[in-house]
């Protein structure tokens, strides 16, 4: 027994165990989130609409996502004839993988970082672009007129909204001087005005930058009011028309995974990540106290932002397609360029005097 324990405590084996624990943890986190965010969405939608929501399946409808998952899994996964078989099957995989990969670079708590990548921020945007390609492949491989139209719209929408997003990220990078996410969170320690969103002395329009990032995140994940791709109640279901059963389920899960990734990036960059303001943890509380408290803070902020995403969806109607593009090219890009300029001037100002 003790020989096995000694083996398991060796440093290289510990590294492998750590890796396995994180893999299982992330897969579980993504799975549970995808399922139970559906529950949160349905309950929030119901409460906004003055009704109770799912109540029958389990207490307060908590087993409803399990019923939905069983239903989706029991359906036949059809591959329509004439489609490009390889692309059709690859598209769901291609959309889910980047979403899961992005979870490895996030700092959840002090010490709980699966992979402390020095260019952590860059990995997010690298993987985010694969997202767009997967949707396009899904639409194209379906060999369906309406799916192609819908995926063309999605591509132009996503490309248009990536630009302001990147400009706001460059603003943040200029302020923090690093792309390492753990360091960015570390810089926001201490008081609540140390959080990046309130750093007005470095960038006067920081809250506006946060708002632009949030709007771009909504557009990138195809959430209302920018959901031309999925809620095409005008014609048919859009890019996912031909997918049935679990193929559709994977797209669905990927959408919620993308929302979680986007919102965690927003909390890390702007709201201080796992930092709790004015809290200094004494060493007598043990090694795990800091991690647990940090984790709680991170999840609290994350779910507040996700609740806002869901809240926005059930309040506003859809924008017109041209209105969507106008918003991005004519309003968001000039404003984000302005904040970038302002930020660079304000950062360099002390050096001139």
């Amino acid at each position: 027994m003790s020989a096995i324990w000694n083996f398991l405590c060796q440093p290289d084996v510990l590294a492998v165990e750590r890796l396995l624990a994180f893999l299982v943890g992330i897969a579980a986190f993504v799975g549970v989130n995808a399922a139970y965010l559906v529950w949160v969405e349905r309950k929030t939608a119901a409460y906004v609409q003055r009704r109770p929501g799912p109540m029958e399946v389990g207490p307060q409808g908590l087993l409803q996502p399990i019923a939905d998952a069983v239903k989706l899994m029991s359906k036949q996964v059809l591959v329509p004839p004439g489609t490009d078989a390889l692309l059709f099957r690859i598209a769901p995989v291609l959309i889910m993988t980047p979403a899961i990969m992005c979870f490895t670079a996030l700092p959840y708590a002090p010490g709980i970082v699966p992979a402390n990548i020095n260019v952590g921020l860059l990995t997010f945007f690298a993987f985010g672009s694969i997202n767009v390609m997967a949707l396009m492949l899904g639409g194209w491989a379906s060999r369906n007129k309406y799916a192609v139209i819908s995926s063309a719209r999605v591509v132009s929408q996503n490309v248009a909204y990536e630009i302001p997003m990147l400009l706001t990220i460059v603003t943040v990078i200029m302020m923090t001087g690093t792309m390492n996410l753990s360091e960015i969170v570390g810089q926001q320690a201490g008081a609540i005005w140390h959080w990046n969103i309130f750093q007005l002395h470095r960038n006067l329009l920081m809250p506006v930058t946060f708002l632009i990032f949030y709007i771009c995140m909504l557009a990138e994940t195809n959430r209302a009011p920018f959901d031309m791709a999925e809620a095409e109640s005008e014609l048919v279901a859009g890019a996912f028309t031909e997918y049935a059963g679990m193929g559709f389920g994977v797209f669905f899960m990927a959408e919620y995974a993308n929302i979680v990734v986007g919102c965690s990036l927003a909390t890390i960059l702007f709201l201080g990540g796992w930092q709790v303001p004015f809290l200094a943890i004494p060493a007598s509380w043990g090694p795990w106290a800091g991690a647990l408290i940090g984790l709680t803070a991170f999840f609290a902020k994350l779910y507040a932002l996700i609740f806002t995403v869901i809240w926005i969806r059930w309040t506003f109607p859809r924008t017109q397609f041209y209105g969507l593009l106008n918003l991005s090219w004519k309003i968001l890009i000039p404003v984000s360029l302005l904040t970038l300029l302002l930020s660079s001037v304000l950062i360099k100002l002390p050096h001139l005097f």
Partner: protein, 382 residues
């Protein structure tokens, strides 16, 4: 780089698939929206509509033929089923026609109650039209708020007549049964509640920038075009022409009340939307005045014969339904069954605008336009 106008863009060789290459899209009989069974054959050039041909008749139930085989009191349930959202107003036209032809007098109390219930029905119908239209545009919440308010109206009407949608509440010479204090008090409580809700809806929906960008300037319909097609109701009043049966051909007790007819001049979907919202407020005004002045007395004329025979001749009667001018024409040859019943419904005339107005529109805009016409398909097909 030159900016092309829409016609140049459609004609240029760089448009989708080249000039004259169009495809036919079927906005099939089954809509994801709540209009009913209407089929529209759209010929599209990429995203733009070049031709739209509505094909109706999927819910034709031969009401006019049924009118030739049923006595005058047996036809009453049919009138509720034409435009089921404003059933009281359609029944009002039928009983009004028979009363006018046979010179049956209606007691004052019955007239006032008819006005109150018709206006309540108008509010309920506008709520459904509004909620369903915003749902088409992607906002899924206002329809549930609208149906919640409509529940209150339907509870009131269920209390007096027992039915929630296809009321058969009017009879020749008055009403089926009288209203009681519960109804009067309930309606009096409903009026300030509804005014409060309208303020909320104005802030939530009307002033919302996303909705405004979506419907301002969509589907401009000129006054001349409306008159050419015979459009009526909020569609006509949204194009600047003040026409309402309640002031042009006053019927029932509408002369006794003081109300306005909202008219907007822009002619786009926003104007039609605002006309409907204002009409709800004006209906509340009428109900308030009617409740305050509600006279005592009988609720039905006791001298109405059991079996009604209209003297031979040609009779018409028009009422202002929620969707426009509804007119019935009966040709009678003295028997107890009409010789011919003609129902002139507003939705068919309103739909005929769609073909000309949708040329060159984007598909999403065309659907917003169709929602602003507030169509109920059983009304078109009868």
């Amino acid at each position: 780089m030159k900016v092309l106008s829409k016609e140049e863009a459609l004609a240029s060789p760089h448009s989708t698939g080249g000039p004259n290459e169009t495809f036919v899209l079927n906005l099939g009989p089954q809509h994801p929206a709540t209009h009913g069974v209407l089929r529209v054959k759209l010929t599209m050039d990429g995203e733009f509509i070049t031709n739209a041909e509505p094909v109706c008749g999927y819910i034709h139930r031969m009401h006019e033929k049924m009118g030739e085989n049923r006595t005058y009191s047996q036809f009453l349930p049919n009138t509720s089923r034409l435009d089921y959202l404003s059933a009281m107003q359609y029944t009002h036209a039928w009983v009004g026609l028979v009363e006018k032809a046979c010179k049956i007098e209606v007691p004052q109390r019955a007239e006032y109650v008819r006005v109150i219930t018709s206006e309540l029905n108008r509010i309920a119908s506008h709520l459904v039209g509004w909620g369903a239209w915003v749902m088409d545009l992607g906002g899924f919440t206002p329809i549930l708020y609208a149906f919640d308010d409509r529940e209150k109206i339907l509870d009131l009407l269920e209390h007096i007549c027992g039915a929630r949608l296809t009321f058969c509440y009017y009879r020749f010479g008055g009403l089926v049964n009288d209203v009681d204090d519960v109804f009067v008090q309930g309606t009096k409580d409903f009026i300030p509640y509804m005014r409060d809700r309208m303020k909320t809806y104005k802030k939530l929906v009307t002033e919302n920038i996303i909705l405004r960008k979506r419907i301002e300037g969509i589907g401009p319909v000129s006054q001349e075009m409306c008159l050419r097609y015979g459009a009526c109701g909020p569609v006509l009043r949204g194009s600047g022409f003040k026409s309402d049966v309640r002031i042009n051909e006053p019927y029932s007790a509408y002369k006794d009340f003081d109300y306005e007819i909202p008219v907007y001049h822009e002619g786009d979907s926003m104007a039609r939307y605002l006309v409907r919202m204002d009409e709800i407020e004006q209906s509340l005004r009428i109900i308030e005045q009617a409740l305050a002045k509600l006279p005592e007395g009988p609720f039905i004329n006791p001298k109405v014969p059991r079996s009604i025979k209209l003297p031979a001749g040609d009779y018409t009667y028009a009422t202002e339904a929620a969707r426009g001018r509804f007119m019935i024409r009966v040709v009678s040859d003295g028997k107890d069954v009409p010789y011919r019943v003609k129902l002139r419904t507003p939705c068919l005339s309103n739909l005929s605008l769609f073909e000309e107005a949708s040329k060159g529109m984007l598909l999403a805009d065309a659907l917003a336009f169709m929602g602003s016409l507030d169509l109920v398909i059983p009304d078109i097909d009868r």
